[in-house]
């Protein structure tokens, strides 16, 4: 199990356009990725490929989230996702 934390950089938080970009990126990966707010049990983590899950997470600008994945290439995959979350996607 690989695990990485990321601080949400988008001004509007992780919804609207930034959430769409993130979900699309997850959808292109061959592995399953979960997302949870930092400090919440791993059992409560949600499917990171679901826009509705991401939206219901309610992560705001500056919040820390935890990404988890298993399998080949998990580390690289998570690194690329962290990079997306730590960019202010709304500004682009």
């Amino acid at each position: 199990m690989s695990e990485r934390t990321a601080v949400i950089a988008s001004r509007v938080g992780l919804h609207a356009r930034p959430a769409g970009i993130f979900v699309a990126a997850v959808g292109e990966l061959p592995i399953e990725v979960t997302i949870a707010m930092a400090g919440e049990p791993a059992d409560d983590a949600m499917d990171a490929s679901s826009i509705l899950s991401i939206m219901s997470l309610g992560a705001s600008n500056g919040d820390t989230v935890v990404l988890r994945a298993e399998g080949d290439g998990a580390d690289e995959a998570l690194a690329s996702l962290v990079k997306i979350l730590e960019t202010d996607l709304d500004a682009e």
Binding site: V12, H15, A16, R17, G20, V23, A24, M46, D47, S49, S50, I51, L52, S53, M55, S56, G58
Partner: protein, 591 residues
């Protein structure tokens, strides 16, 4: 077109299922005509596409069909969800701006793993795919709703996606504005503000609704886009897809299977619109009397377009664009930038900024209370300063900062003023912010009746005829059955306008009375308004050239005579007819 017609028949069969004895769809319609209220001029011929009726809820507890396994049903649902997703994705590619973002986000929702998994779980418990997706989406929507703010607004998108998936499962057209590769005339019961976001003016060439009034969203969007439109045309929902109709947006008539006469009229309209497309930038009557023609704008983009169309300034800058779809108040810096964009489009010209007009049909989570029993009579417009003081002062300060160093002549006005005391308070706030030309909107009848006292405190007033009509006639702007009451041609509304002008004379300093409602965009009514003593007219940029052409055909004395005729008419219909009869140019231009 054939395929479309076929699926439409299915919808009709479904929606008529409670009344199966009715004659089948497609009965002869040749020569049939419908009469409604013309709200945006233009004569055009084209094929009908009906806005599908809302998707019916599957029966509560609807079970899997016998002989269908839950695996098969789940696969059917997944296929439908994917089909809806690819349809929305394909459509987003052809859209731009906000429309594109909305479509991209809803496309992702359509095939969302959380939503689909929840529905599959219900199918495994024996539910039909339709009922399963219905309930799964309802839970998701409720969850989003409970999160509040931005998420609560997205709940509507989930329900929209749900309707599309159910329609796909049933093999009927998706709800919302129909999609077609070729131009069509959209026929609907009425359009909601959300529908207008996805309305493509390159495809939709005219609008016809069976409900709605002259001030409905359908009417406003039609005028803004320059689309011929007829509202409150009872019976048009019985038309079928593909039927060719003739729409006259000035007369308010619709004719099925038009003949050579109508073809000629539509051709003539095409020619005259091309000739009418130009406004030379000075509004004046035949005798040279000047009537500055300004534009209503909702942001910098609009302002640039309005300036290009020859507008002599901005008579109404709606500042809501800065605030709508936000959970929190925009910062002063953000506001300054947004206002400056508009000011820069009109160097040396007047720009009238209306302060935030939230409430009623424009709710804002941080400012208005959505649970009011009577939102139109509630805390809206200037009144939000009673319950959320500070927002208005910060906005005035932003307007003042944006005006500083700009070349525009910046005026400010407050919406929904009812008393002279409110006008006085607003003028004080303006002067504290360093704004030199304060004014107020006259849209509450009490303000029209006390215009003289109000004008002792402010430098100008601007009549908002949409709300003034709704309040004078006690008739909701959005209600189709009340559309006959809800027209600024009502003699009572014209009397209130006359009283406002009289109030300005009584005050004694010749302070200007303008009009910035939809009434100013009606060329016949524009003549009446000028005859009543209105100094300036502000309208959607599209209407400038037609209003200018008609104003140039009359003298001030003639306009005054027509105003008298309208004021003393027995009904709104009579007023409109009597004035139009004396303005032959209207018919010549197809207006």
């Amino acid at each position: 077109m054939l395929g479309m017609k076929k699926s439409r028949t299915i919808v009709q069969t479904l929606s008529n299922s409670a009344d199966a004895s009715r004659a089948p769809a497609g009965e002869t319609e040749i020569g049939r005509s419908f009469v409604g209220v013309g709200v945006s001029p233009g004569r055009i011929i084209g094929p009908v596409l009906l806005m599908p009726t809302a998707v019916r809820e599957p029966a509560v507890g609807e079970q899997l069909a016998e002989g269908t396994s839950s695996e098969e049903a789940s696969a059917t649902l997944r296929t439908a969800a994917k089909a809806v997703q690819s349809d929305l994705t394909a459509r987003s590619a052809g859209a731009s701006g906000t429309g594109r973002e909305v479509l991209e986000a809803t496309a992702l929702m359509a095939n969302d793993p959380m939503l689909v998994k929840a529905a599959v779980k219900l199918i495994n418990n024996g539910a039909s795919p339709e009922r399963a997706i219905w309930d799964a989406a309802a839970s998701v929507a409720e969850m989003l709703h409970n999160l509040g703010g931005y998420m609560a607004e997205r709940a509507t998108d989930v329900l929209d996606v749900r309707g599309r998936i159910v329609a796909e499962l049933r093999g009927v057209p998706a709800p919302g504005i129909p999609y077609s590769d070729s131009p069509f005339i959209l026929v609907a019961e009425d359009l909601a503000p959300a529908d207008t976001a996805t309305l493509d003016p390159a495809k939709v060439i005219a609008l016809v609704t069976s409900s709605g009034g002259p001030q409905s969203h359908t009417a406003i969007i039609a005028r803004a886009l320059g689309l011929p439109a007829v509202v409150a045309a009872v019976g048009v929902d019985a038309l079928t897809d593909g039927t060719r109709i003739f729409v006259d947006g000035a007369a308010g008539t619709i004719l099925v299977d038009p003949g050579a006469d109508e073809v000629a009229l539509a051709k003539a309209w095409e020619t005259s619109t091309a000739a009418l497309a130009v406004f030379d930038g000075t509004g004046r009557l035949q005798d040279g009397h000047l009537v500055p023609l300004l534009s209503n704008v909702g942001g910098a983009k609009d302002a640039v377009k309005a300036a290009a169309a020859g507008a002599e300034g901005v008579g109404l800058l709606r500042t809501e664009f800065c605030f709508l779809e936000r959970d929190t108040e925009p910062s002063i810096t953000e506001q300054v930038e947004a206002y400056r964009g508009v000011f820069d489009a009109f160097p040396g010209k007047k720009v009238v900024v209306r302060t935030l007009d939230a409430g009623a049909d424009k709710p804002l989570p941080f400012l208005t209370d959505a649970s009011e029993p009577n939102p139109a009579l509630g805390v809206r417009g200037y009144r939000t300063d009673f319950t959320s003081p500070g927002v208005l002062e910060r906005q005035l300060s932003a307007i003042a900062q944006a005006a500083e160093g700009s070349e525009a002549d910046v005026w400010v006005m407050a919406p929904m003023i009812s008393t002279a005391e409110e006008a006085e308070h607003f003028a004080l706030l303006c002067s504290a912010a360093g704004l030199t030309t304060p004014g107020v909107m006259v849209e509450v009848p009490s303000a029209a009746l006390t215009a003289a006292s109000i004008l002792e405190h402010v430098d100008f007033v601007s009549l908002g005829t949409n709300d003034l009509t709704q309040y004078a006639m006690a008739a909701d702007r959005q209600l189709g059955p009340l559309s006959a009451l809800n027209t600024p041609w009502q003699p009572a509304v014209l009397q209130l306008i006359r009283l406002t002008v009289n109030g300005s004379h009584d005050e004694g300093h010749n302070k200007p009375v303008g009009v910035c409602g939809e009434a100013a965009a009606d060329p016949a009514l524009a003549v009446v308004l000028v005859g009543l003593g209105v100094a300036t007219l502000s309208m959607t940029a599209r209407a400038l050239s037609t209003v200018a052409a008609v104003l140039a055909s009359v003298t001030l004395a003639e306009a005054q005579q027509l105003a008298k005729l309208a004021l003393t008419a027995h009904s709104a219909t009579d007023a409109r007819r009597l004035v139009r009869e004396k303005l032959p140019i209207l018919d010549a231009l197809g207006l």
